[in-house]
Amino acid sequence: MARYDRAITVFSPDGHLFQVEYALEAVRKGNAAVGVRGTDAVVLAVEKKSTPKLQDSRSARKIVSLDNHIALACAGLKADARVLINKARIECQSHRLTLEDPVTVEYITRYIAGLQQKYTQSGGVRPFGLSTLIVGFDPYTRIPSLYQTDPSGTFSAWKANATGRNSNSIREFLEKNYKETSGQETVKLAIRALLEVVESGGKNIEVAVMTREEGGLRQLEEAEIDAIVAEIEAEKAAAEAAKKGPSKET
């Protein structure tokens, strides 16, 4: 097979890699995704654009598991995501085979980020147009983690983060409102953050949780999400009323 020797991603005179920056644009146009790390649970929530009536929504899942203890959500080109996810899944199993141990969250993040970087420095290929949010619990230590990777191939760990459409506003919200949470509180925080930019309702949000005890990824049902959204709205209304109430009296 002929090997390509001409790189597409090359430096600009002022030190930018334009292809990578354009890839980041593609991410900015993708659906919003939020990840929150709690003390005993990690949550991913993704915006769901309205599904056509005839589409089987189960085939268009946006939050996927890479192994029993690792889950991934992304924003950007979904087709690129499929390729990256498949490679990551193979690597998770390959690691189990050669090292007899499941991967740590940091290891698989490093692998995915490494792949994304390789495609910015190879001939005949373009960078992957997606940023990922990776959550999970490390084997044995059971420490929860949340990592983010982007098209340039950098990655870092976060307490909470967002990517995709309006990720800046979501991140601002999270910076103001983040605190260490556990269990259902973590889920609520993630959904509250996403609701900042997404129309409220169970059918516009996809949420998945992984807890330390249960292990495994649990996708929340639409009805569950609706219930939590209702709770959040009630809390918001109560907070509003509390603000208005005292001022009326004085």
């Binding site: 050669t98 007899e100 005949g124």
Partner: protein, 273 residues
């Protein structure tokens, strides 16, 4: 992380732009190599293997007990009937918390254990935590498997202490890998097993285990011509390995079976009085 098939490659692997392996979906095609020109493949293989078949002249043993792992070995190297050395180090220190034993080809064992040490260290640096004993033994087994049939002679035990406690694995040049509590490898192993198995208890103290290991090696060196020299014993605990003893088996013999004065000497003494 794929199986190490670099032993099959006939040319330097091409590193650089768009190496094909990454663009293809995970599974690479099987590397190809020249087939020998013969009609009798099975017989040909057998002849070649017999020619380089390892005769592992040595005694090594290791066992897990309450306080960790005990590892012991003799120190004789033989070339046929010629004893080439009585002071070979057969317990190889892979890193401060993992030991490997040597049986088979000395050069093969030394090289591959050093190589394993490198891989373990790289793993530590990349992942910020120590590699497990099962992981290390798996790396070695996969490396040896890729050289299967090429005449390597390695019968080794990997002993260490990791997050899950004490670990002991047997790995050989066929690519076999076994997890276990007690192993003995080498031409003296049947004799060592006899003493080890009859004296083994899980609830031993370090001193009792040391004595058992030492005695097993001594008895193997007594009966097996290819084993001898010095019986070294190491202990692997939660904080790493420590060498406990290294006794010349000749001296151990008289320690276990002190010489009683012969009757002729008695007669001489009586006559002198």
């Amino acid at each position: 992380m794929k199986l190490d098939t670099s032993g099959f490659e006939t040319t330097m692997p091409m590193i650089g732009f768009g190496s094909n392996n990454d663009m293809l979906d995970g599974f690479c095609s099987v590397p190809s190599f020249d087939l020998p020109r013969t009609t009798d493949f099975d017989g040909f293989q057998k002849e070649a293997v017999q020619m380089v078949k390892p005769a592992k002249g040595t005694t090594t043993l290791a066992f897990i007990f309450k306080e960790g792992v005990m590892v012991a070995a003799d120190s004789r190297a033989s070339m046929g009937g010629y004893i080439s050395s009585q002071s070979v180090k057969k317990i190889i220190e892979i890193n401060p918390y993992m030991l490997g034993t040597m049986a088979g080809g000395a050069a093969d064992c030394q090289f591959w254990h050093r190589n394993l040490g490198i891989k373990c260290r790289l793993h530590e640096l990349a992942n910020k935590r120590r590699i497990s004993v099962s992981g290390a033994s798996k790396l070695l087994a996969n490396m040896l498997y890729s050289y299967r049939g090429m005449g390597l002679s390695v019968g080794t035990m990997i002993a260490g202490w990791d997050e899950t406690g004490p670990g002991l694995y047997y790995v050989d040049n066929e690519g076999g890998r076994l997890k276990g509590d007690r192993f003995s490898v080498g031409s003296g192993s049947p004799y060592a097993y006899g003493v080890l198995d009859s004296g083994y208890k899980f609830d031993m103290s370090v001193e009792e285990a040391l004595e058992l290991a030492r005695r097993s090696i001594y008895h193997a060196t007594f009966r097996d011509g290819a084993s001898g020299g010095v019986a070294s014993v190491y202990h692997v605990g939660p904080n790493g390995w420590k060498k406990l003893s290294g006794d010349d088996v000749g001296e151990l013999h008289y320690h276990y079976y002190p010489v009683a004065p012969a009757t002729a000497e008695h007669v001489m003494e009586e006559a002198a009085e």
